[in-house]
């Protein structure tokens, strides 16, 4: 458990941002992952009073507030019907309902954990993050940046007909993933994201057609294996993770092909 000297419930994003420029400040979203740390926090800035807990839909996109809880994502009918149940699939294994009622989208994405289901799954969609100062940038770009002192405000998900699927391997149902693969199809081309390697999720930079046959898939997998880093930890060895990456990309592609 962390310790904190001071707690401030930010009244405005500007106030939160100002406070967050000090190194000793930590932003508080859901607090679920933060609680696992032994961080010594000076000022804890609660983002809970800024109205960032809404899921909004416009013609071209969904706008998801950083304080939307994982449970909101999991149970959102509009999101799940628009993206083939992805939002349920990427959240449902995370600890338990009472955890998911606390943990937030922003907390999960901003922390950029390697094991993050959300980061991996959302990279399969066309998302932009909205930062208070830096403005909008693609999620893929944001995911590669180191942590900074800006504030993640919203995530915008394009409604562009992209069809995602998400597959993970977990040693137990509510455990962190040993490996996660998200894939999505648009215009006959498939984007593949591999997370929990155990490093941060990354998009595979190699072409894969929806109609790929066994040989094409194997060529893609070979590219993936050489491009991405894999490593071992308590949950699995590098070798096993590499094996799973092939199995799960194959399954994701099959799922997309089945429609």
């Amino acid at each position: 458990m962390f310790t904190a000297q001071q707690y401030v419930k930010a009244a405005t994003l500007e106030e939160a941002w100002q406070l967050n420029q000090k190194r000793s400040t930590t932003l508080l979203a859901g607090g679920c992952w933060l609680r696992l740390t032994r961080r010594r926090v000076g000022t804890l800035v609660d983002l809970g009073g800024l109205g960032l807990d809404t899921i909004e839909e416009t013609e071209g996109e969904f706008s998801l507030g950083a304080m939307v809880t994982l449970r909101q994502l999991e149970t959102s009918e509009v999101l799940n019907s628009a993206f083939g149940g992805l939002f349920k699939e990427m959240t449902r294994h995370i600890v338990g309902v009472q955890f998911r009622n606390c943990a937030t989208l922003g907390g999960s994405i901003a922390a950029r954990f390697g094991f993050s289901d959300l980061l991996c799954a959302l990279l399969a969609l066309d998302c932009e993050v909205e930062l208070f100062k830096a403005g909008r940038m693609p999620l893929e770009q944001y995911a590669k940046l180191p942590a900074d002192r800006d504030i993640l405000v919203r995530i915008h998900v394009k409604k562009n007909g992209r069809r995602p699927v998400y597959q993970t391997m977990r040693n137990a149902e509510t455990d962190l993933p040993v490996l996660a693969v998200a894939a999505s199809e648009k215009d006959g081309q498939v984007r593949v994201v591999v997370g929990a390697r155990p490093a941060r999720a990354e998009v595979v930079n190699a072409p894969l057609a929806l109609a790929a046959d066994k040989a094409a898939l194997e060529a893609f997998q070979a590219a993936m294996q050489s491009q991405l880093t894999f490593a071992g930890n308590m949950r699995g060895s590098e070798e096993y993770r590499r094996h799973l990456a092939n199995v799960l990309t194959g399954r994701c592609l099959a799922a997309l092909q089945e429609g």
Binding site: M169, A172, E173, D175, M234, Y240, H243, V247
Partner: protein
């Protein structure tokens, strides 16, 4: 019988389900000092210097204690009958640190936050020593875990601290080597099990205070209050007469609380400061420095005929006591006695064991107590033998299993006086549809469905050692008070003993008030462990009630002015048959409290010269994904012979719960150490006990025998039920993949890698 063999609600159920403050941590008085420990970051070290000055300056800190402050008598925290077989090998605080997490200093402060802050300010200079982490290299290793001269073993268990030996033993019946030499089929396998954690939901917690008489009083989540009294007296070098131990409701124990893991520290603080003190372990502490199952290596040699007749069993166990020897010499015995004795066909058998010290966390008692490891090894080897002989694994067992009336040569020569193991096998096969499901089938999605089987036994108390006593009193108005010294830890003994008493006294359960343990007030009981309570203490209830009935009858007859042998007692009244002369129990109760009468109470104790084994058969059906290696339990069936089922609900729930713990051991619960000896799986995030999604569906049926030496024909159930999942599930994995695994847990990666190796 009105209550025995029924599904009765527990007498304390409603206070538990409405969240009443009935656990140790709910009762901590105001003004109690909170105790925190500085724990060793090293697996093996000596404290060279320790500076507590800065810690003592933290506002709210009352005291900091180091090894310089504690009594110098070594003791064991094992909750066992005196003289304990576990060596006296520890101090409250020691200059030598033997595992990561060994206590370095105790801080007592007004608040937990102050104590935690002070812990961080204690400055220690360690002389870091090379740790002995691999228990298979422990014997005669130049690194000694217990080099101290005052190391002491009270019993001749073969302990030799200069060789890292906690105990050594060997027993043989017949000539194993000669028998094996003539067997046409001999297979030998070696198995490894981990130091599984009980992971009871309530961590270790104790608080202590000086009562109005100035005596040390402990309230603790313990299975062994009377043993704790003795352990404290040893550790604190004080008279037992000045110690009182109270056990409130317990949030689970499973053996963890058969060691005094948390008790000595707050007690020491209270004696030093005169203040109430409380120590509540974190989950991390409970995981890393609790009292887990002994890690073991078990080698099994089986000799058989081509037709599957098993003629010889040779079992050899190496057990890792870790840093301290709690329960080391005793757990290992069950590895052999409870596994070999499943087979009645043996011409010869041998069991040899060594228990060694190492610089890993000290082990203790965990449900199954060695039988779990032994049965896993022997039953897995039998599964492999069946495969090698091309036999059905049920058929090979049907051919060889122990039967009613046989003698358990390797189980102290006891007779098998009650046993429906054969019926259990038949029932389990029907329940899971073995004939159609064995050994495997491949589903459309490529997953493999397969089944596996194992048998198990345990004991019912420790023969000739365990003792349970109860006192039952008649009160005015005719209600009873039942005082017991055994410890309900959620398992329901307060309820089942009340059920038994109500049947013995022909009264409603509501007429009996039962009381949990207070060593000042309860009659002596060694505590609840070794599957003893129903069988041993239950018999004490039966005996006490019989005695009480005689006393009630005598008092009633006296009031009726008739000879006692002409009157009868039917639970409500004493009467003379065939007449209208009667006196009610209520009137007898009132009369017994009058000056010229005698109070009516009965106290009986019971100890059994035998420990009749409950038996069971477990069968697992699994779904195995050969691509990812993931295994999901589909169905688990259990057919159990625990003699008469005293409470159908509680026996069923015990069985289901034990099976899920066994599933955890088989597939999920891993203990891994860093190279420096720090345990990595010290949280629920990293030590995955099964959730309800892993548990699958479990179905239980009882095939009751009648045990003549048990109360109402009952045997035990608590520990037995954890023993079948590991061998049954690994049997199913073997049936699915053709690969036999020998190390627990079997994780998805292990399956994938084994399949890959097999293909190559």
């Amino acid at each position: 019988m009105k209550y025995v063999n029924q599904a009765i609600r527990k007498v304390d159920a409603m206070s538990l389900v409405t969240g009443k403050p009935v656990y140790t941590g709910d009762m901590v008085p105001a003004n109690t000092l909170m105790v925190k420990m500085l724990r060793s970051p090293h697996a093996h070290a000596l404290i060279e210097e320790i500076d507590t000055a800065a810690a003592l300056k933290v506002p709210g800190v009352v005291a900091v204690f180091t090894y310089k402050d504690v009594p110098q008598s070594r003791f064991t925290t094992a909750g066992q009958t005196y003289p304990e077989p576990s060596p006296y090998d520890r101090l409250i605080l020691d200059r030598r640190l033997r595992c990561v997490g060994d206590p370095v200093a105790l801080v007592a402060a007004e608040t937990e936050a102050a104590a935690a802050k002070a812990v961080g300010l204690i400055k220690v200079k360690y002389q870091v020593l090379e740790p002995l982490l691999d228990f298979t290299q422990a014997k005669d290793n130049p690194i000694l875990v217990h080099p101290e001269e005052d190391f002491k073993a009270l019993c001749p268990v073969g302990a030799d601290n200069k060789r890292n030996l906690c105990s050594v033993d060997c027993m043989e019946n017949g000539d194993v080597e000669a028998e094996l030499a003539t067997c046409p089929v001999v297979i030998e396998r070696t198995f490894y099990t981990k130091a599984n954690n009980q992971a009871m939901m309530e961590p270790f917690v104790t608080f202590s205070y000086l009562d109005e008489y100035g005596r040390l009083t402990l309230v603790s989540s313990t299975q062994v209050p009377f043993h704790v009294r003795r352990i404290l007296s040893n550790a604190l070098e004080m008279s037992k007469a000045n110690i009182r131990v109270i056990k409130p409701r317990i949030g689970g124990g499973f053996g963890a609380k058969q060691s005094a893991v948390s008790e000595v520290y707050p007690a020491f603080v209270t004696m030093k400061t005169g203040r109430p003190a409380c120590l509540c372990f974190t989950r991390q502490e409970s995981q890393a420095n609790g009292s887990p199952r002994h890690q073991m290596r078990v080698t099994v040699r089986i000799g058989a005929d081509e037709d599957g007749t098993i003629r010889a069993l040779d079992v050899k166990a190496l057990s890792n006591a870790g840093a301290y020897g709690e329960h080391g010499p005793t757990t290992v015995g069950l590895v052999g006695t409870k596994s070999i004795s499943l087979y009645g066909s043996l011409k010869a058998a041998r069991f040899s064991s060594e228990v060694v010290y190492s610089n890993t966390m000290g082990a203790g008692a965990y449900r199954g107590y060695g039988a779990t490891q032994g049965i896993f090894a022997v039953e897995s080897t039998v599964n492999e033998l069946a495969a090698q002989l091309g036999m059905d694994p049920c058929a090979i067992r049907e051919k060889n299993m122990v039967r009613l009336g046989q003698t358990f040569a390797m189980y102290y020569g006891e007779s098998c006086t009650s046993c429906t193991l054969d019926k259990c096998m038949e029932t389990a096969k029907k329940m899971i549809d073995w004939e159609n499901k064995a050994p495997r089938r491949v589903l459309e999605n490529g997953h493999i469905r397969s089944v596996g089987v194992a048998m198990a036994m345990q004991g019912s108390g420790i023969s000739g050692v365990d003792i349970g006593s109860v006192e039952i009193r008649l009160n005015d108005d005719g209600f009873y008070t039942l005082l017991v010294g055994c410890t309900d830890m959620g398992t329901g003994c307060d309820t089942i003993l009340t059920q038994m008493a109500a049947d013995c006294l022909d009264c409603p359960m509501e007429n009996i008030s039962v009381r949990g343990v207070d060593t000042d007030q309860s009659p002596y009981d060694c505590g609840s462990y070794a599957s003893s309570t129903t069988y041993v203490t239950g018999m004490a209830v039966v005996k006490a009630c019989a005695q009480l009935r005689e006393k009630i009858l005598a008092q009633g007859a006296k009031m009726l002015d008739v000879p006692a042998d002409t009157a009868e007692f039917d639970g409500k009244r004493v009467f003379v048959p065939g007449t209208d002369r009667e006196v009610s129990l209520s009137a007898i109760g009132y009369a017994s409290f009058e000056g010229h009468a005698r109070c009516i109470s009965a106290c009986e104790s019971h100890s059994s010269p035998v420990s009749p084994p409950p038996m069971m058969v477990g069968m697992a059906e699994i779904d195995l994904d050969p691509e990812t290696g993931k295994i999901q339990l589909v169905d688990y069936v259990a057919a159990v012979d625990c003699g008469t089922v005293v409470n159908k609900n509680l026996a069923r729930v015990q069985t289901e719960g034990g099976i899920v713990q066994g599933i955890g051991m088989a597939l999920y619960e891993d203990i891994q150490y860093t190279k420096a000896g720090r345990m990595m799986n010290d949280s629920f995030l990293q030590y995955r006990i099964p959730t309800r999604l892993e548990a699958g569906t479990i179905r239980v049926e009882f095939e009751s025998s009648y045990e003549p030496s048990g109360p109402f024909g009952a045997k035990s159930i608590g520990e037995l039920v954890i023993n079948t999942p590991a061998p049954a599930i690994l049997g199913a994995i073997q049936n699915a993949t053709g690969v036999a695994f020998h190390t627990l847990p079997v994780k998805p990666e292990d399956v994938v890698m084994a399949l890959r190796n097999k293909a190559e």
